[in-house]
Every structure is written in structure tokens, then in C-alpha cells.
């Protein structure tokens, strides 16, 4: 108090119940009741505090944020993890690209060990498969070259043999008379083509021999 009126700071302290003694508090309240000016000032302060309370009451979230916060946090965490491994991924990509380009540029001179080994193994495996198929169908192998395997089979067994050879390129010829000479090899047009022709030729004599060539891939 300044002797006549109560200072605003004291009213504010009163509002916060922060007056040191009960005696002082009562003295302030007595003055406010008896002094019009201080009463009006105190009323204004109370009015302002009501407006604060109004804001406190009304400014509330209209939603529960907990779900969205957790979801957003996890999403950001995943993104951060992704960006953390990005340098490693980038390094891996660069390495793979560099390795690939190196192989590409050196392709004219030599193939990689992996590539060359697979090239040499594949035909060998297929050759052994073809030999198996030929053996299963009671055919004879007459010649093995770099380009094909030539053999001979009876007309009755050729159809089955041809079927088992499947996608492989095959040409064939009919063996004439006892001399064992063969007619010109007939090139198949597509897989298992000319079956009707072949059947017609051998129907009358299933033991008639057919010479065939199975070409390597």
C-alpha cells in the first residue's frame, strides 16, 4: 500500500494468495471494500482473470493427439533409419555398377570366370541328357560332333524319341535299303513338325530305320 491506495502488485499477489501474512491480507481487503477507486481496479483485475479462465476452459484440443503423435514418431523414425543406411546402399550400388561396367568393357577380351564356366557346363549337361534319351529309346549313336549327335533308330521308336527330345532341334532322314545309305536330312520346321509325313513313311514298315541328328544348343 502506498498510504492512500493499494498498489496493483499487491492486488495481483492477493489474486495469487501470495500475501505474506493474514493480517496484511485482511487489511488490503478492508481497504478495497472501502475505497471506490481500489474496488474498481480490483474488479477489473478479477474480470481479466475471468477472461484468462475463459481461455483456459475453451482452448482445449478437440482430439486426442496420442495416436497421431506415436504414429508420426514411428514414421519419422523409419525415415531416419532409411536415410542412415542410404550411404551404405549408395556405396553398394556404386560398387555393383563399377563391377558391371568393368565386366562389360572387358567382355571383348575374355568373359568372367563365372560366365565361361556356365557356358561350358550347360552343353555338357545337355549332351549327357540327349545320350540318355537316345539310349532309352533303343537308338544307336553313330557320331558325335561339335554341332550335333547323329544316331539311328527304328521307324517305330522314332516318334517317341522325338517327343522326348522336346525343344531340341532335330533333323532326320530315312535309311534306304540294306546299304545303310540315308536320304537327305529333312530339317524340321518347328518342333515335332512333319510328324504326319514321318508317320506315313514308316507306317508300312515300322522296322525301317531313321537316321537323325540332334543339334547342340
Amino acid at each position: 500500500m502506498n498510504g492512500k491506495h493499494i498498489m496493483f502488485q499487491k492486488m495481483s499477489q492477493l489474486m495469487d494468495n501470495d500475501i505474506a501474512t493474514e493480517e496484511e491480507k485482511n487489511s488490503i481487503l478492508d481497504h478495497i471494500q472501502s475505497c471506490d477507486q481500489c474496488r474498481r481496479e480490483y474488479a477489473r483485475l478479477q474480470e481479466m482473470m475471468k477472461l484468462f479462465a475463459g481461455i483456459r476452459k475453451n482452448d482445449r484440443l478437440r482430439a486426442d493427439l496420442s495416436g497421431s503423435v506415436v504414429k508420426e514418431y514411428l514414421s519419422r523414425k523409419r525415415k531416419k533409419s532409411f536415410f542412415k543406411i542410404m550411404p551404405a546402399v549408395a556405396a553398394a550400388v556404386v560398387f555393383i555398377l563399377a563391377f558391371g561396367l568393368n565386366s562389360y568393357w572387358q567382355g571383348g577380351r575374355h568373359t568372367s570366370r563365372i560366365a565361361s564356366s556356365s557356358l561350358s557346363v550347360a552343353p555338357a549337361n545337355d549332351t549327357s541328357k540327349v545320350v540318355d534319351i537316345i539310349s532309352r529309346n533303343n537308338a544307336k549313336i553313330l557320331k558325335v560332333t561339335d554341332l550335333y549327335i547323329e544316331g539311328e533308330v527304328s521307324g517305330g521308336s522314332f516318334k517317341r524319341l522325338r517327343k522326348e527330345l522336346g525343344f531340341r532341334k532335330v533333323s532326320y532322314a530315312f535309311v534306304r535299303g540294306e546299304s545303310g545309305t540315308s536320304s537327305n536330312f529333312i530339317e524340321e520346321v518347328g518342333t515335332l513338325s512333319n510328324k504326319a509325313y514321318m508317320d506315313a513313311e514308316t507306317n508300312g514298315n515300322p522296322s525301317r530305320a531313321i537316321r537323325f541328328r540332334v543339334y547342340k544348343e
Binding site: F8, Q9, S12, Q13, D16, D18, R44, L45, E47, M48, M49, L51, F52, G54, I55, R56, N58, D59, R60, L61, R62, A63, D64, L65, S66, G67, S68, V69, V70, E72, Y73, L74, R76
Partner: protein, 190 residues
């Protein structure tokens, strides 16, 4: 939920159970939102900022050592976030004014008054003027009045949160109230 319960939940979060942060968000979201909304006066913006503050709190949780109450620690994050956000905002508005506006044009910050049925009930004219005047207060007074008279923090919590001594807290509260009261009186609100 007491500070002890806060601490228990924090320990769970740090052990990997992120869902344990849910009760903490539920407990403090209104308090954080009120502070942010009072500062920026835009519901949607305040909503986004409130969410970001909680995310930042989760990310920084390892740095909480339990020396102060969790609420005090959270308020510190909230206040710093809002300060930085305002700085960024100011930088952005300077750039935009220089680059895309004519000299006679200037940005006016309108309060968020989009038509929502709830808003019409909630935002009566007195509260709108009150908020405007809170916005117009100097930073030192505005922040402390929001914490004290809107969020209801104790003198001690404010002292810890803002890192200023108790007597300074009291002085700022009383001076801030007096300044605000005078402005509201001049506008005929009280």
C-alpha cells in the same frame, strides 16, 4: 498421474515401449496446446506444433535425467520450440515480403476465424480481444502470463521452466498483468 507415474512411463518408453508415452500425451496435451494456441492464435497450426513438440520430447527423452519434474522439462522443450518456430516464421515472412509483394502491400496476421460451429460458441468477442492483447504483449510478459494464468503453473515451475529466479517471476507476472489490464481497459473490455 503424478511425476512418479510419468517417470515409470518414461522408463518404459526408453525400454522400447513407445505406447507407454500415450498417457503422458493425454495428460499434457491440453496444457501444451493452450500455450501454443495462445502464442500463435491459429487452431490448425497450434495442433501441428503441439504434435511436433511431443515428437521432439520422445526423441529427446534420453536426455531427461529426472533432476527436475518431467512437466518442467516438457515445458522447456515447448517454450524453446515455440521461440525457434517464431524465428523461422519471421525469417520466412521477411523473404516473402521482399520477393513477392509490392511496396504498398504488407502481411496482416488475421486471427483464425474460420467458420466452425464450435468456434462460434467458443470464440466470443471478449475472448478474441483478450487474445489479441495477450499477443501484443512483450515476449517476457506474454510467455509468463500464459504459463501462469492460462496453464496454471506454479511460481516455482515457471522459475524452473524459464530459468529465472522466483522474485523475477513474480515481478514479471504482476507487471504483465498490470500492462494487460490497462490495455483491456483502454479497449473497453473491463
Amino acid at each position: 498421474m503424478s511425476n512418479t507415474e510419468d517417470i515409470k512411463n518414461i522408463e518404459k518408453v526408453l525400454a522400447g515401449d513407445i505406447e507407454a508415452f500415450t498417457p503422458i500425451i493425454k495428460k499434457y496435451q491440453d496444457m501444451v496446446f493452450r500455450y501454443v494456441y495462445s502464442k500463435f492464435n491459429n487452431y490448425d497450426e497450434a495442433l501441428d506444433i503441439t504434435q511436433d513438440i511431443f515428437i521432439m520430447a520422445i526423441e529427446a527423452l534420453k536426455s531427461f535425467r529426472g533432476e527436475s519434474k518431467f512437466s518442467t522439462w516438457l515445458y522447456s522443450i515447448m517454450i524453446n520450440y515455440c521461440k525457434n518456430y517464431r524465428k523461422k516464421q519471421n525469417r520466412f515472412s521477411l523473404v516473402s515480403m521482399n520477393s513477392s509483394k509490392d511496396e504498398d502491400e504488407y502481411d496482416i496476421q488475421y486471427p483464425d476465424e474460420r467458420e466452425r460451429p464450435e468456434d462460434e460458441v467458443i470464440m466470443n468477442d471478449s475472448l478474441r480481444i483478450m487474445k489479441e492483447e495477450i499477443q501484443n504483449l512483450p515476449d517476457d510478459y506474454r510467455d509468463i502470463l500464459i504459463l501462469r494464468d492460462i496453464d496454471g503453473l506454479s511460481y516455482n515451475d515457471i522459475s524452473d521452466t524459464l530459468g529465472i529466479n522466483l522474485s523475477n517471476v513474480k515481478v514479471r507476472i504482476h507487471r504483465g498483468r498490470e500492462l494487460l489490464k490497462n490495455r483491456l481497459y483502454e479497449r473497453g473490455l473491463i
